[in-house]
Symmetry: C2
Amino acid sequence: MNLLKKLERYKTATERELRRYISEKDPKELYELMRYHVFAGGKRVRPALCLLSCEAVSGSYKNALPIAAAIELTHAFSLVHDDIMDHDDMRRGKPTVWKKYGEALAINVGDGIFTKAFETAFRLKNIPNKNKILENLSRSILEVCEGQAMDISFETKKIVTFREYIKMANKKTAALIRASTELGAMCGGGSKEEVQALKKYGEKIGLAFQIWDDYIDFASEKTGKTYGSDIIKGKKTSIVCHALEHANETQKKKLVKILETPAKRMNKELILKAAGILEEIGSIEFAKNYAFKLVRDAKRSLKDVRDSRAKEILLEFADFLVKRED
Amino acid sequence: MNLLKKLERYKTATERELRRYISEKDPKELYELMRYHVFAGGKRVRPALCLLSCEAVSGSYKNALPIAAAIELTHAFSLVHDDIMDHDDMRRGKPTVWKKYGEALAINVGDGIFTKAFETAFRLKNIPNKNKILENLSRSILEVCEGQAMDISFETKKIVTFREYIKMANKKTAALIRASTELGAMCGGGSKEEVQALKKYGEKIGLAFQIWDDYIDFASEKTGKTYGSDIIKGKKTSIVCHALEHANETQKKKLVKILETPAKRMNKELILKAAGILEEIGSIEFAKNYAFKLVRDAKRSLKDVRDSRAKEILLEFADFLVKRED
């Protein structure tokens, strides 16, 4: 049975929880738009990790459902706002909220989904450490905002070190994935050691996820993604940050020039040239190996968690992260 | 002693709570911007109402401080996002966040302040009905989002009835003011009747505040505000909604035409003409009396709350609302 099949049960439970929870009709300018975005077909990876972590410490996944849904809604709201900030037109094959309904409604819809995230989290019942869980959740979301602020500021910085990039990605991407596993384990009543182990696992796979994302931008063209799309956008990915830090003066000059080329003046030749420089420096290979190492660390951190079907799936999931090509 | 002097103590306590609470340094692209907006000199009306309501039911105002601060932060975040939506350049004599730092950082700063609002609310300690308070808070914020969605949709509607306007204003403006008094009373351990009374008081003054805001747009020019600024923007205020509902065909045609005139082609003559029509229909007088009635109702709803200095200030505050000219 493949991994996605194994995750189906968690996805269905999350979907049901979210549907039940965002059911308001009026005003449709808020709720229809919230549903347009939330039910656009996400993979529900974060809630699945949350529910699995709950089960991995012998809890019933139902106890973690409100937090799993809250984390998914947090992720969803951040995407609505990110799409405005990045001027992205499409998401999951559909126009983004701001593109379809305008910026004002999109900002407001993001705020509405965000509010729902907290409302959902408050539904946690019979959990003795509820206060700690809620505090951890809001602290994690604040980290996402911190990471986003850093990422925006990177755009106008000439050089961003690999270390700065990792700090940013740990906040912007990994914090919410770490919250998924850590809070799942807390909802399941895990011991201090178990919670710590699952927290570490989440941290590592969260960062691996982001680095791998940067890596597959240079994977073979069969993935359907535009080869080198991050180069076209001039993004400071982990690969670019590593390269700029280790480039000689000639390489740096060439690379910066290509990254600063406006998207509409980009062409295949320039992208291949940039990719060539990144390969020369060894940055693409470096990122790939870095992601592999993170996954190894993530899996190792689960050694103190007792064996279970949930743990098996978590281990498999970590491997899956650095195999996927989209 | 004037009212503002009496409120000073509550403002200082709120200010201290907020300062202590938003003290992070790094990344400055998030926290410096959050402070830029939050400490730009707000009047802290909502927290004052919250703390007063707590005292009015014989609670110590310190018990309500986390909720008072959370409500102020909610108000603050909504202003950051509203300014982007409305393309407003200035607030409290300073450039708005998006104007000064760009839209992307501004959306993110709003999200950060919003997260802090919840984080602050979680700090409620030793309050038996904490769950109910948090649920009420998030429900109130969702109402603000609902009101905002309605308000945005009004822009493209030809006719908005006075009733629809009231529904919108009850959500967009009054919901958070109602939350201030209701949750303040809950934090103070008020009886069911006391909480209900202060809830009603908040609802009424919240709506009165908005209607009076629409009214003073036509007050004498000594207020410093541009006379008829809402007309220039073509806004569907309570006065305009009332007028469009009661206008004859000629009046309606003239009024709609002026409201649809782009701001840069507006002039004094057109504004005075619009004001003339609104007066003819009686809408300006209607709004004024409507606000007066709301204030009377608000004060009456406090009759079952035992006499105290806090209650006195709340009564005085209601009167103040429909005297202010800015």
